[in-house]
Symmetry: C2
């Protein structure tokens, strides 16, 4: 069997100029990065008179170690749409170097449903993440320099919230003391690093509509508090202009292609816990402008990724999806039904029946809470039995939702045609989109609404600390922002061990923080790891490049 | 008067594909980065059958606060060569973000002798420095992870020499303690950051002939020592392949153009103290392959920059320069003669006479020690008087060296024609190039040779510590490496206050370190700052970008 990188390197991509031309993009907007990557200038959005296409969101059941194949399905669906004669464009997140060198290898789809050049996409691509890291770290340097040079703003060094970042899994940097070495070398204080995808600059870039919006959001970002507990922003430090200058190219979406030459934007990649977990608004808008169908995805399961996509990103950008695809695998559903990983290859209808409520709750959330047409894509595995697939179909049909078998990993776009046809049908169905909560609600009320409506919790509990923070944030004028839930992705609840569709639980919110530039309040239900570590044998040990520049060891 | 950025933004550059085509580069080697930047694939070097052009080095007198204009002269000379009908190509270093956001603003020439697009060149360009930083920091993460995961190599955490890096002036990171926060968050140890240009990865990239050489050099880099004092390398950590994969594009030289459309490679930028301070060997070789005259520069004054260019880079790459340009200004020479900065605009022949020995010693080093044809370029200022210029000419002619007035800042290539004609003449003169010391000499002997022949010191003194280090390095097999002097750039001596051409001093070497990947021994004569800080009002506060992506505030 061929590995992902072998399939990718064996493909014959079109020149990116040709991909752009076929998508109707005037060459004046195309900034080539080598032969097979390009940045597309955002002025295209203002200058192109073309009605937007239909927006398709691909999301998934609650993730399990068995894997779901959300990106693969997104890519294969777009290729499938293209094969049935539709003009489709993909919009995805950019991979971080952290997982590439850690455990995961590549992150650009899989099998015959990939985006290429996968090596470049996985290995700092067009440099966007480094630009984001540089902007983040310029702000940090200007902040510490401000304190060092006299601290005119009276920033309390013990209340600095801005952390430095690097696009790398480096646990050694989680907690540091910097500014050591005496008077000329800074001011000693506790500090720490996040991985770049967790930087608020990443979320800001992905939620900005244009350069002016980017600058305004950067300016609003809070870096810490004064001795009088007043917020200090990047704007106060006069850092926003230079940060935006560093980001001027990173703000332009990257165009690549699928193995079947479908145009694909890959742009931005905020964390899906402390941020909203989907590609940039500009890339999504560009995909809508260029395609009759724009296929995009959101991080983690639908309780986190789709909820934030719909409640945060669509709300800020004024987007209305036409259909939602919920990806599931029979294996993962059996895992939700209590089957150990080693036994997932054996038919087990009882376990499947026990696991199915997880899928059904996600589906119901899409159709009932958000009012959107929905299809379940079962990402096919050779071990799936006919009886198992029929059971999934039966339970979904009871909710009025069809199931399409997706064989895109093995067959590419051909394996996505059935799904594509159902998506096209759904796009013509009535659409009753609404967000799951209103911004007018108080912070606690919004939290309760999400926990009850989406997670089906009995309610939400705020710690004393979180209650105090909620009051403070409301008094600072942040009460009407949307909520960004930072919760385990492995359960509807805040307990990773509760698989399936748990009931009779409450969600505890321990911390509330504002991301004032991104424009949401982050609700932390536990410790969220914002700087991963490398495993005992990092994937990096196997990655290599030969004398011609050809990469190996990504998978 | 127009600022540098106004001149640059008012220019009409050619498409980079056209610049490459005019230089005879087949389009298959050209990887566009937008319309006006490209990377050129290194396979061009193997596949192009064209005799190499002449190599011209531009260096300078000992730097002063008055400024010399080395990059400006390099650019203007190439434009001048082109105006007199010669095929010239420039090879320069890439600017670091540190000075851009600190005090200096841009670093891409000045006036009418600039390389463009200057905003992009100054603002992380094609991402090379971030790639170098990522490779550096991947190695750091793998090193700490190795210790965390059981430390099979028995690395002594107190003898780690590898530091993390970021392309930013951030004094807060000079000295840190990382790995804090308990058992799951790493192992607490002292650590620190350098600016990316000070990373050994930068020097390695710039000295590598191809991908295989890059990988071999990366493998040899020493990250620390075991409890038994044995060196531990990046190769031991199995990091070199992934690091090289991160660097696969960074290894390709960047092609841009001067304001007058002369092709210019801008590639790599190692520190000129703890490293060798010139652009990559691959870029220089490419400039030689494409031009009849390849004009390049070296960092700081000729005692550091030219010495390392000739003794390290040319030796490793097998290059023989055909002529050397030593840039001086009347103002700077008067400063060497003891005139305060405020009075440099007034004619002062006595001070000039006192300062001239600085220039003459640099010139003599080039002609006598290195055996190379030399010309002095006086970078013209409006305040220079006829008598002052004549005095410079007179003293230089006594050494058999001509002076050319360079007016490239004000007039572009036209102002460089006189210099260009002299350079062309020199390239036909006899060339007796030899390095200033032999690799066979012992470490102390090499140090003494450099200090006596180049600096005209009475000798070199090694501290007890340095003596011990020299023995250790020789016993580890590093005795035959060239020396990279890390000395103040403001004096021939190791005392920044000794201007002009001091005599009767000795140089004290306090530390010796091997850069085993770069392939040289760094001799530190004092504390060398490898992480600058921001000034009270950072240049970043003035930098901005408008809604169309246009940058302002670089100067």
């Amino acid at each position: 069997m061929m590995s992902d990188i072998e399939i990718a390197q064996g493909s014959k991509p079109l020149k990116i100029t040709e991909v752009a031309a076929q998508a109707g993009v005037d060459e004046k907007y195309v900034e080539q990065y080598g032969g097979y990557k390009a940045k597309i200038d955002y002025s295209l959005l203002e200058e192109t008179e073309r009605p937007d296409g239909k927006l398709i969101l691909v999301t998934a059941i609650t993730p399990t170690p068995a894997g779901e194949g959300k990106t693969t399905t997104t890519v294969g669906l777009a290729d499938g749409l293209r094969r049935i004669g539709k003009k489709a464009v993909v919009a995805l997140r950019e991979p971080s170097l952290g997982p590439v060198f850690g455990v995961k290898g590549g992150a650009a789809g899989g099998g015959w449903a990939q985006v290429v050049p996968m090596e470049d996409i996985n290995l700092h691509f067009t440099g966007d993440f480094h630009a984001i890291g540089a902007a983040n770290n310029l702000l940090a340097a200007m902040l510490d320099n401000h304190i060092y040079q006299g601290n005119a703003l009276s920033i309390d060094p013990k209340r600095i919230t801005w952390r430095r970042c690097v696009d790398m899994n480096d646990r050694q940097l989680r907690n540091v003391v910097d500014g050591l070495g005496g008077r000329v070398n800074g001011c000693p204080r506790e500090d720490g690093y996040d991985i770049t995808v967790a930087s608020e600059v990443m979320a800001v870039l992905c939620l900005s509509r244009d350069v002016d919006d980017l600058k305004a959001r950067l300016s609003r970002m809070i870096v810490g508090y004064t001795y009088e507990e007043k917020p200090v922003t990047a704007g106060d430090l006069k850092a926003a202009g230079a940060m935006a200058a560093l980001l001027k190219d990173a703000l332009k979406p990257n165009l690549v292609q699928t193995l079947e030459h479908t145009p694909a934007f890959i742009h931005g990649g905020p964390f899906a816990n402390i941020a909203h977990g989907c590609n940039s608004i500009i890339a999504t808008r560009m995909a809508l402008k260029m395609g009759d169908y724009a296929v995009t995805e959101a991080g983690f399961g639908a309780d986190l990724g789709a909820e934030k996509f719909l409640d945060i990103k669509c709300r800020m950008a004024g987007l209305i999806p036409s259909a939602v695809v919920v990806v599931a695998t029979v294996r993962a559903l059996k895992h939700h039904g209590g089957v150990a990983k080693a036994d997932l290859g054996t038919e087990n209808l009882a376990a499947l029946e026990r696991g199915l409520p997880n899928l059904l709750q996600h589906v119901e959330n899409i159709t009932t809470v958000f009012g959107l047409p929905c299809v379940v894509a079962v990402n096919a595995f050779p071990t799936d039995t006919r009886a198992e697939l029929e059971l999934v179909e039966k339970r979904c049909s009871e909710l009025g939702v069809n199931v399409a078998l997706s064989e895109v990993w093995a067959k590419g776009g051909e394996g996505g045609e059935a799904l594509a046809r159902e998506v096209v049908r759904l796009c013509e169905q009535p659409n009753h989109f609404s967000q799951s909560y209103s911004l007018d609600q108080g912070i606690e009320e919004k939290l309760e609404t999400i926990c009850k409506r989406i997670y089906r919790a009995d309610g939400v509990v705020l710690t004393a600390n979180a209650k105090k923070q909620a009051k403070q944030l409301e008094s600072l004028g942040f009460g009407n922002l949307p909520i960004c839930m930072a919760k385990t992705q492995y359960s509807f609840s805040d307990d990773a061990a509760l698989l399936g569709a748990p009931r009779g639980f409450t969600v505890t919110v321990r911390n509330l923080k504002v991301s004032a530039g991104a424009g949401f309040i982050v609700a932390l239900t536990g410790d969220i790891m914002t700087m991963p570590g490398l495993p005992k044998v990092p994937a990096a040990e196997k990655i290599d490049v030969d004398s011609t520049g050809r990469i190996s060891g990504l998978f």
